[in-house]
């Protein structure tokens, strides 16, 4: 554990100090890395902990983003308040999806399809809601670049950088606490064997629903960040299937169900994507889709050769997987 703590601390320090040496482009890449680490971690709660595969997770990003953005654009509600509404909406919808799924015993592929159906339904719905910009998009008024207005989330890119860093660190620590908590063990039991878990007094439905709602709510916070950082929202982007796939790439490549997985996955995939784009543009051809193609190939490679993700393999190599009491660390 101490070795893992060192690694974590080092990583956090590196990110905290990066703005001192990195230029705006690199910083923006790091923001994307952290965003995907954050959202991937939030997704991981549902999948890694409760074992429910959500392939339509961008639904919660979109709901969080649009809720907070719409409140700001139409009612002037600052982000700091709007985020509560965003989380509530997403958690509620997550609750509906979960309740429908679990109450009616929708499992496995059917549950994954249910999540996709909800996301797609919402995407088309949002293309038709007046006041949210429709397919042409919802635009947030851009604030002054020199302010550090956290309440309204208007300001310097550096503010956003440290915000997402705090969010990523926060969710990591939260998950860490959860894993070794009563709730974490409950989820573990549910994931391992639902019948046995029930025989031990665990309310399986409630445990799974809690995971889904927590995951949805936390994901929505990522959506709020997304809305105020990029200042524009399109239903196609916010709710599109591509986004859902992007969200799951980092935790799967990094390591499903592990704490470091989403971070490692994001650290690998985002720079890889940027690198590929840079190389292909340098070679002279602007190829749309080549980045995604490479992501697809990476995913294929991971699933074939390292199905548990890179982190479990890496930590085995680095000898980081034994804690002081011989327990398996995440």
């Amino acid at each position: 554990m101490s070795r893992q703590a060192i690694l974590l601390g080092g990583l956090a320090a590196a990110f905290a100090l990066a703005p001192l040496v990195a230029g705006p482009y690199l910083l923006s890449v790091l923001v994307v890395v952290m965003y995907f680490a954050y959202v991937g971690q939030a997704w991981n709660i549902m999948m890694g902990f409760a074992g429910q595969l959500s392939l339509g997770h961008t639904l919660y990003v979109g709901l969080g983003a649009y809720t907070a953005a719409a409140l700001f654009v139409h009612l002037g509600v600052p982000a700091a308040l709007g985020l509560f509404a965003a989380v509530a909406v997403a958690a509620a919808v997550g609750g509906i999806v979960g309740a429908l799924g679990f109450r009616f015993g929708v499992k496995g592929v059917y549950f994954a399809l249910l999540t996709i159906a909800f996301a797609e339904f919402t995407r088309i719905l949002f293309e038709h809601i007046p006041g949210l910009g429709g397919p042409a998009g919802l635009f947030l008024p851009v604030g002054s670049r020199d302010s550090f207005d956290l309440i309204h989330l208007r300001g310097h890119p550096l503010m956003f950088y440290y915000l997402i860093l705090a969010m990523t660190a926060g969710i990591f620590l939260l998950c860490r606490r959860l894993v070794r908590s009563r709730l974490g063990y409950t989820w573990l039991a549910v994931r391992e064997d639902q019948e046995a878990a029930a025989a031990l007094g665990i309310n399986v439905f409630r445990a799974k629903l809690t995971a889904v709602m927590l995951s949805a709510g936390l994901t929505a916070l990522g959506g709020v960040f997304f809305a105020f950082y990029y200042n524009n929202l399109f239903p196609n982007q916010a709710f599109g299937m591509n986004r859902s796939i992007e969200i799951i790439l980092a935790p799967i490549v990094g390591g499903l169900g592990t704490l470091f997985g989403p971070i490692l996955g994001a650290l690998i995939l985002t720079p890889l994507g940027e690198l590929i784009t840079a190389v292909t543009e340098a070679m002279g051809f602007k190829a749309a889709g080549i980045k995604q193609l490479c992501y697809g190939l990476s995913l294929l490679a991971i699933v074939k050769f390292l199905p548990d993700g890179v982190w479990p393999w890496l930590r085995g190599r680095l000898g980081l997987d034994r804690g002081p009491d011989g327990e398996d660390e995440s």
Partner: protein, 243 residues
């Protein structure tokens, strides 16, 4: 039987798509008793257990624990009401340690992780699994898995323990060890036990009363010695495994 029974099962009926699996089974269990439920394969014993444990809802009859009805409760609610159960085909949480398995059981009894861990260790000591507590549950042998299954159920601090063919697949020495553990538990803590068993060695050694059922219907009831000699009981086993 003057005192109110801890567990009361009366007129239990269960149909599965036209097949009457359980037909009018009744018995009661006093607090602190050890009662065995026996009968040939397919007699409906596990179905009775599953109804008590809340896995199935009975189509008729009463199930009461200390006077409160268990009918319609979910399995987790039944556990919280005070019934622990093991499964015929053991279900360990394979990817975590033995101790963590039992810990999860203990978390029904306390919310505090530290207290739960201590209880888990106590129970593991009792079952003789203390030295294996760090092992992954999936690496255990079958007898140890059975012990783990029992330990986990015990950790929930049940008033009544349902054991579903716990002795199956164990060698005589292991069977005797299990019997001793249960005897000790029953004697020292007053734990009430209801067990389904085919291993007569265990039934004779452990139970104070035996309930016999066949094809879902009750056959007879009595002390082990009485039941073993009852012609009706011998009748339903003829052609199957001999006692």
């Amino acid at each position: 039987m003057s005192a109110a029974p801890l567990l009361l099962v009366e007129g239990l009926v269960k149909n599965f798509r036209g097949l009457r699996a359980v037909d009018g089974v009744s018995f009661s269990v006093q607090a602190g008793e050890v009662v065995a439920l026996i009968g040939p394969n397919g007699a409906g014993k596990t179905t009775v257990f599953n109804m008590i444990a809340g896995v199935f809802e009975p189509d008729g009859g009463r199930i009461e624990l200390a006077g409160a009805s268990l009918v319609g409760l979910r399995p987790d609610q039944v556990c919280r009401a005070g019934i622990g159960r093991t499964f015929q085909l053991v279900k360990p949480f394979g990817n975590i340690s033995v101790e963590e398995n039992v810990l999860i059981g203990a978390l029904r009894w306390t919310h505090d992780l530290g207290a739960a861990r201590r209880r888990a260790r106590e129970v593991l000591d009792l079952l003789g699994l203390a030295d294996k507590r760090r092992q992954m549950a999936r690496s255990l042998t079958l007898p140890d898995r059975k012990c783990l299954e029992v330990a986990r159920a015990l950790a929930t601090a049940p008033k009544l323990l349902l054991l579903d063919e716990v002795m199956a697949g164990l060698r005589p020495a292991e069977t005797d060890r299990m019997v001793d553990i249960f005897r000790k538990l029953n004697r020292e803590t007053g734990l009430t036990i209801v067990l389904i068993e085919h291993v007569m060695r265990a039934v004779m050694a452990l139970s104070q009363r035996v309930v016999v059922i066949n094809t879902g219907k009750p056959v007879c009831e009595g002390t082990p010695e009485e039941v073993v000699r009852d012609p009706r009981v011998l009748d339903c086993y003829l052609g199957q495994e001999k006692l």
